[in-house]
């Protein structure tokens, strides 16, 4: 058996892939290895509860806003669990959802153009693919421009991106004007146009009615997704890269994301069934450990989380059909992430229009120093379901536990199962493809080890 170590670039953070090859030249085992542990859960112990609002966004540079929302959520749930009133206006809820979703759009755009497509330059060098080339390609630059545009929506309400803490228990710190909302609306509108024209090659109304791959290709006037599908079919990545057929989404973002679990069939989510595994984390197990990350299991099973899981638990017809034919292949997993850009933008527009500026931004809750007990915060982040759990005594953090989406997808294995990403590269014959399949999970080692 030959063992090969690959260092991944064009992902978030530093990740190694250890591949074991069998005699037939196929991958027989794979280990996703992440170092660079920073110890955020330790840092939080003994800190004032509200400090978590400032500390936690710093867990991750690309989904820090999701960490902020999970923190706020957990603290607000602490109030509820302690039967202390906490009131949050519809306006504050809408704005938080809008900024959270802006971060997701930013992520998916950068990821598709900066991380994913450049791999195909190696397969198909041509003038056409040059457009996607880092630093010089016009498509590359445009994606960067629009990802910088959409985070302006976060800045309009929250002051800046990355790393604001404008969302707090009881609401938000800002009080936007109607013209601020118009400003945000115009950015979202411009992005919808860009996405229609450049990515999907059709209007969003048409896209939302597409039911399968053939229909998509026949309707599209040729966008980057069409080019991407073509690349996948030519390289076999439309079928390769499949993993376990288990998916999880832990929270609902009405009306575009529904929670749920899929194990063969869709079933109801029972959050009590979520457990972390530490057997192969170096921090807890010097002998067997191979990474600094824990894994997560639902009812003992590994689960994929993220945009594809969200599409399947939300029972979106296009993805039910794609999944039937191609399973969770590289193509389908990537498409689900790209799909979400449009689905979310459309809803953001709607939410912006629903904001009633006359409502309060913030209603001061009772003193957090009275809080005892524990609570969870559940949020959909770019890469999937994010869970924070906080234990508190008199407003001081006793313990803080974080389960990130990447821990579900790329965390350490258990005695029975590899992680979904480790499973997905088995049987592949090309190390580049193994890297690509790994990238299709939107790797973030920063969140993975935190």
């Amino acid at each position: 058996m030959r063992v090969q170590k690959i260092v991944l670039n064009r992902v978030e953070g530093d990740v190694n892939l250890k591949l074991c090859w069998d005699q037939n030249g196929k991958i027989s085992d794979a280990y996703v290895v992440a170092y660079n542990y920073r110890g955020f859960e330790r840092i939080l112990q003994g800190k004032d509860l509200l400090d978590a609002l400032v500390i936690n966004p710093r867990i991750c540079g690309i989904c820090g806003h999701a960490h902020l929302m999970a923190t706020v959520n957990a603290i607000e749930n602490l109030y509820k669990n302690s039967s202390i009133d906490i009131e949050i206006t519809e306006k504050a809820k809408l704005i938080k959802q809008i900024t959270l979703c802006s971060e997701i759009v930013q992520n998916h755009l950068k990821w598709f153009y900066l991380f994913v497509i450049p791999d195909f330059l190696n397969f198909f060098p041509s003038l056409e693919t040059e457009k996607f080339k880092p630093f010089v390609g016009e498509k590359w630059k445009k994606a960067l421009k629009f990802s910088s545009e959409i985070v302006k929506v976060i800045a309009i309400f929250g002051g800046q991106w990355p790393h604001t803490s404008y969302a707090i228990p009881g609401g938000i710190t800002s009080e936007p004007l109607k013209t601020d909302i118009v400003d945000a609306l115009s950015i979202v509108d411009r992005l919808i146009k860009y996405v229609e024209e450049e990515i999907f090659g059709m209007s969003y109304e048409d896209y939302l009615n597409v039911k399968d791959l053939e229909e998509f290709l026949s309707k599209s006037k040729g966008g980057d997704l069409t080019t991407f599908i073509d690349f996948c079919v030519k390289t076999g990545l439309d079928k390769e890269g499949q993993s376990y057929e288990h998916f999880i989404t832990v929270s609902t973002v009405y009306p575009c994301i529904n929670e749920g679990v899929i194990k063969k069939k869709k079933c109801k989510l029972n959050l009590k069934k979520i457990k972390e595994v530490k057997d192969f984390n170096i921090l807890y197990n010097k002998e067997t450990g191979y990474t600094y990350a824990n894994g997560v299991r639902y009812d003992g099973l590994p689960m994929q989380t993220g945009p594809l899981a969200r599409r399947l638990t939300s029972e979106t017809e296009l993805f039910l059909n794609l999944y039937r034919l191609y399973k969770d292949s590289y193509l389908v997993r990537v498409w689900a992430r790209v799909d979400e850009i449009l689905r979310i933008l459309i809803n953001m527009k709607d939410w912006l229009l629903k904001i009633n500026v006359n409502e309060k931004s913030y209603i001061k809750p009772k003193d957090y120093k009275k809080l005892y007990g524990e609570a969870f915060g559940y949020v959909e982040a770019s890469r999937g379901s994010l869970i924070h759990k906080v234990k508190v005594e008199k407003g001081v953090i006793k313990s803080y536990n974080i389960i990130t989406p990447t821990m579900w997808n790329l965390g350490s294995r258990c005695n029975k199962f590899k992680s979904p990403a480790e499973k997905a590269v088995l049987g592949l014959e090309d190390p580049l493809k193994a890297q690509m399949v790994l990238r299709s999970f939107d790797v973030c080692s920063v969140c993975l080890t935190h």
Partner: protein
């Protein structure tokens, strides 16, 4: 074109994402003047090991080494693209014209340094000189490590500093090695709540446009060196403009403090007063300001004349 190599230690990647949020005009100018030889998230043609070889052999020159993230003074603790960051830095420190520490982790150690004494910034550990590279270290150009602080650093602070050096300007640094052009301002300068500050009209609660956040809600604007309200974030806003207190994230002591949303007071007087005035003078001044009622500032903004 001058070469730039971007490496990472213990980081959240926030400075890279901040950098990528630059407006397209600046990005275009940057890319047409600076050759990004390597950035872990962006480069597709070359792997770090190949770039590293070229730099070590002197086949490529290293003009700008950008470091994001805290580093460790012990070997085998922090890795970048399969190499020990400890070794990369020791091998490249004398080959670079300029080394820029970008973001508070690379400058001062920040959160990753809180519980590990070996984790440091490049030339500081919090406010103590003598980070990873030692107190007296200077690069070939004669500059010490140039600290672009912030958690994260603003993209324009990064890009404009590099371009200034590229265009041959001398840059003046403050006593924490930060470019004066940016860090001589306070976050307070340009805050749209300044009128409330002057007349000592405090905001008692979040979620309002009215009132200054200094007296009760923890704002560090008058004590924090940063042009956040001069060069706005994402070209739109800033923390204080959106009602969030400045948490002083450009200063060495950012993660050492706590209760970011409260102002520590002593018999009603803020424990720390704006830079440049004595506590006594400040108490007198604010006392006087309070005795004049500025009618305008006691109304909702929408209702003022």
């Amino acid at each position: 074109m001058k070469n730039l190599v971007w490496i990472q230690g213990l980081t959240c990647n926030g400075n890279s994402h901040s950098f990528l949020s630059i407006n397209d005009t600046m990005l275009d100018v940057f890319l047409s003047n600076i050759n990004i030889l390597y950035h872990p998230m962006l480069t597709s043609e070359m792997e770090f090991k190949d770039v590293y070889k070229l730099l070590l052999s002197g086949k490529e020159s290293l003009n700008f080494l950008v470091v994001e993230g805290a580093v460790n003074t012990k070997k085998d603790e922090v890795f970048f693209q399969g190499f020990d960051v400890f070794e990369i830095l020791n091998n490249l420190k004398d080959k670079s014209d300029y080394i820029l520490a970008v973001g508070n982790c690379a400058c001062y150690g920040n959160f990753p340094a809180l519980y590990n004494e070996n984790v440091k910034g490049l030339q500081y550990r919090f406010k103590d000189k003598g980070g990873f590279l030692g107190e007296d270290f200077k690069t070939k150009s004669g500059y010490p490590i140039i600290n672009i602080t912030g958690c994260p650093a603003h993209p324009e602070w990064i890009v404009r500093t590099i371009l200034s050096l590229n265009f041959g300007y001398d840059i003046k640094l403050d006593n924490l090695n930060r470019p004066k052009d940016f860090y001589m301002y306070l976050a307070h300068d340009g805050c749209i709540r300044n009128e409330y500050f002057e007349w000592k009209v405090e905001a008692h609660e979040f979620g309002t446009k009215e009132g200054c956040l200094f007296y009760e809600l923890g704002c560090r604007g008058p004590l924090t060196h940063s042009p956040c309200n001069k060069i706005l974030w994402n070209e739109k806003s800033s923390k204080t403009r959106s009602g969030m207190p400045c948490i002083g994230c450009t200063e060495f002591d950012f993660p050492l403090r706590s209760k970011y949303f409260e102002t520590k007071t002593n018999i009603g007087i803020p424990e720390e007063v704006p830079l440049g005035v004595t506590k006594r003078a400040y108490i007198m001044l604010s006392g006087v300001a309070k005795t004049f009622t500025n009618q305008r500032l006691n109304k909702k903004l929408e209702d003022t004349d």
